[in-house]
Symmetry: C2
Subunit: 500 residues, 2 copies
């Protein structure tokens, strides 16, 4: 006879396997699936999502959890079992509010929408995507309604990506960021421009690939438990911590885009590869939240990858690979080039000073859509208006504007804020790491990331989703998610680069 | 309120989606999965297999089928609905005999065994694979026991791959084949050898790939609904008829191996891509049996791909791609080279005259294992003895002997006979096609496969698994599976090549 904790884990193992299978199907969909496979893939994913949902929300789990909560209270509150019961209870409470018909329909619709977005973008025609997005917004409103009463219609959506955080919290943080970042961008615009013309080149793909592989191998990415492929939109996906895959893409006229994308996705992957195997096949086997996940990708991409220390080690090698383009560019000018601040159209290609503004624009649009104050059909116009207001530029077409991200086509509304929050957390962690690892900068100058990765594993990665993410941030950094460290970082970095 | 036929289909749709998901996971496992992912993949596949089995064997389907059988009798017996009900009833009868614990364990064990086989083969050490195979044989015995009483312990296994055929039927066919094929090989061995030294070369991989793609595109493979990747063991897999994928491999010192493998897998894929979309998301959406499937792969690989007509069209192009190797080889000598008869170690690389002997050897071993007359530990020795007896050669190591196939590691026992039966059916079909398409040979000489594919679609492909495979063979060719046409074909072909 199975004990109750064993029985709970055995069901959670099944749910975890089902989720892993969906991730495999999703990975394939975005990397290798032929176009004709889209419809069947939507059906497969929809069926799997429904079965997973039914399995996880079964009455049996409710009864088990009720029986196990007192047991959890008797344990060390930080033990794996106590946390597993609490996190499962929280997630069960949320998911049982959602009907499995909704889950199946949502999965089917969003699977097909991703194909529609690709077509709409190819033809730069928002109208082709509009009916899909309208249905998704409707479904997301129904979703929010499952969680009534709420302080804000956006709260339930945000909570899926950033448990414990409220819309109002984010708005307070963003208000502070917006004022300061807009002022900083203005100051930079008024100063002597940085030259990055040497980056606006099309470099040999294989050499870019190889250099990226060299770098992330040094970071500590474990190729026995992962791989890299090409995908139109780079992403990381994980089927347990022993198969964590990344993707990258190569853009013409952008010599560094693939590299930074690879470092970014590697940051996500290092988090997943670092989760303790004690948590495998449970819902604790994942990052604690999207902001914490993004803190890892941005830490490796920006705090490491755009630092002078990193390039003082890797630049000679980079120059050897691309002697014609980089041979005559000094390390100092290269460093300034990869950190050039310039309002631009595409979020994922934007610099650290403007990035958060791209995010705010999206969050404001999402909130307006959810509140019913904005119609999907008006989205391109509103998008372009906000781009002018925040960044002073107008997208020449929808492909480079409202159609650039895949999130909405996948049904993700409430996800974008975590990108900016991740930036904030990355610097909160970075300040702490610098305190605790005084030789961090000299290690990076030597191309040695061992202590850095060990610190992240010890303090963050190993715990997976075991602890509440907002508590984790406080526990590790001594403060809640806060804009001040990030603003300090931006000001210091750009004062030096731009002589502000 | 759903009608009963609708309800049945809706459950079968789910089962089909679950099977499709497993195929995707299997494809990934054999193409791109990193080594570290093996354990989690085994768990995911095991969970999916158990859920699929539970879903399909649920009491609800039994009740629905009982209610629907009289309805099926009222329909045109060849209608989709009548056949769906009958085939589902047959399959339900079989699967309900098997416990879902058995299914889960079998899936888990076989998923892990595939990794063990890879290691065992790399080290050419059968002992590393032996305990896995012992467990698989045990599990397969248990499986056969679910179907007691049986005429032969091997019947239930064979029936999974070749519904309706009995072990005794196959033995009768094979007895006839063995005598005739051994005599033919002896006659060939006594005649003037054919030169194929120009094929024992390592050709540029990309050019081989491109040529293979050219050929199968001409055959009619639809790339919008498929793709080709590399895999250590070429296979075809299908996630519905709109995503049918093939794989190939490149061997050193073998200039034509990849090409014939690509044509072979394309033959399987054309069958799957040709199934009527009316049958999608049901268990009729697959080939009717393994022998029928293999009849298609062998038809395109051998009857088309090793014919003089085919090469009279494609050889000039092939020579252009490989001028140094093939430039001075005449079409006639090339044709003889690719049809050289020579006892060899590896089944998939063997010629049409010896191939079936490789199959018989395996079937005899499988039967002895199942009957308990042979222990797994004695397999390498028995393998090598039989190789000497049938083909007069001794494998230099287990990697090129008993460890060469993946079937046993995947739990497939009873599959091998269908390879030889597929050869027989391919020629039975070929004789019929030649009657009905008098200009077939001249079309092939023009590189035109349109009528051939249309004939196969019309007579075989579109029906999927709708009809009983043994009935299908009779219906299309006028005879049951029979060795005579194949023997006629071999004698005619090799009498000409070897002047017998």
């Amino acid at each position: 006879m199975e004990t109750k904790p064993t029985r709970l884990k055995s069901i959670l193992n099944e749910v975890s396997d089902l989720n892993g299978a969906q991730e495999v199907l999703g990975w394939d969909q975005q990397t290798y699936m032929p176009a004709g496979g889209a419809e069947a893939r939507g059906e497969e994913l929809s069926t799997l999502a429904r079965i997973t949902h039914d399995r996880f929300t079964a009455d049996e789990i409710g009864v088990l959890l009720q029986d196990l909560l007192p047991y959890a209270e008797s344990l060390d509150p930080e033990s794996d079992d106590a946390r597993l019961i609490h996190v499962t209870h929280r997630e069960y409470g949320k998911q049982t509010k959602v009907s499995s018909d909704w889950v199946a329909e949502f999965t089917q619709i969003t699977s097909m929408s991703q194909e529609a977005l690709v077509t709409a973008r190819t033809e730069s025609n928002f109208k082709l995507f509009q009916p899909h997005l309208e249905r998704i917004v409707e479904l997301r409103r129904q979703y929010a309604d499952f969680f009534k009463p709420y302080a804000h219609v956006y709260d339930a959506l945000l909570d899926d990506y950033e448990p414990g955080l409220k819309t109002a919290d984010v708005q307070t943080i963003f208000d502070r960021l917006r004022t300061e970042q807009v002022a900083l961008i203005k100051a930079i615009a008024a100063s002597k421009p940085v030259d990055d013309s040497f980056l606006k080149v099309t470099l040999d793909e294989q050499k870019q690939w190889d250099f990226g592989v060299e770098v992330i191998t040094r970071f500590g990415y474990d190729w026995m438990r992962g791989r890299q492929d090409k995908a139109p939109h780079p992403f990381t996906t994980s089927f347990g911590s022993d198969d964590v895959r990344i993707t990258t893409r190569f853009l013409p006229n952008s010599g560094s885009s693939a590299l930074f994308s690879t470092m970014h996705e590697c940051g996500h992957a290092l988090y997943e590869q670092g989760i303790s195997s004690r948590l495998r096949r449970t819902l604790l086997m994942s990052g604690a939240s999207m902001a914490l996940h993004e803190s890892q990708s941005r830490l490796w991409e920006n705090l490491v990858g755009r630092s002078k220390e990193f390039w003082s080690h890797f630049y000679p090698r980079f120059q050897t690979l691309f002697p014609e383009t980089m041979g005559k560019v000094s390390l100092d000018n290269f460093y300034k080039g990869i950190n050039k601040v310039e309002p631009s159209l595409i979020r994922v290609e934007s610099d650290e000073a403007t990035y958060n503004l791209h995010v705010m624009l999206r969050m404001e649009i999402e909130i307006a859509l959810m509140e019913g104050k904005l119609q999907v059909k008006d989205l391109p116009e509103v998008w372009n208006e906000k781009m002018r207001e925040y960044l002073g530029i107008t997208p020449p077409n929808d492909a480079q504007g409202v159609l650039q991200d895949i999130h909405w086509s996948g049904g993700s509304i409430g996800y974008f804020p975590t990108y900016a929050l991740g930036n904030l957390v990355s610097v909160q962690l970075w300040e702490k790491i610098q305190e605790e690892l005084p030789s961090l900068h000299s290690q990076i100058r030597n191309g040695d990331f061992t202590s850095l990765l060990a610190w992240l594993r010890e303090n963050l990665h190993q715990h997976g989703a075991k602890f509440d993410p907002q508590d984790m941030v406080v526990k590790i950094t001594g403060s809640k998610i806060s804009p001040e460290p990030y603003l300090r970082y931006l000001k210091t970095k750009y004062s030096e680069i731009y002589n502000l």
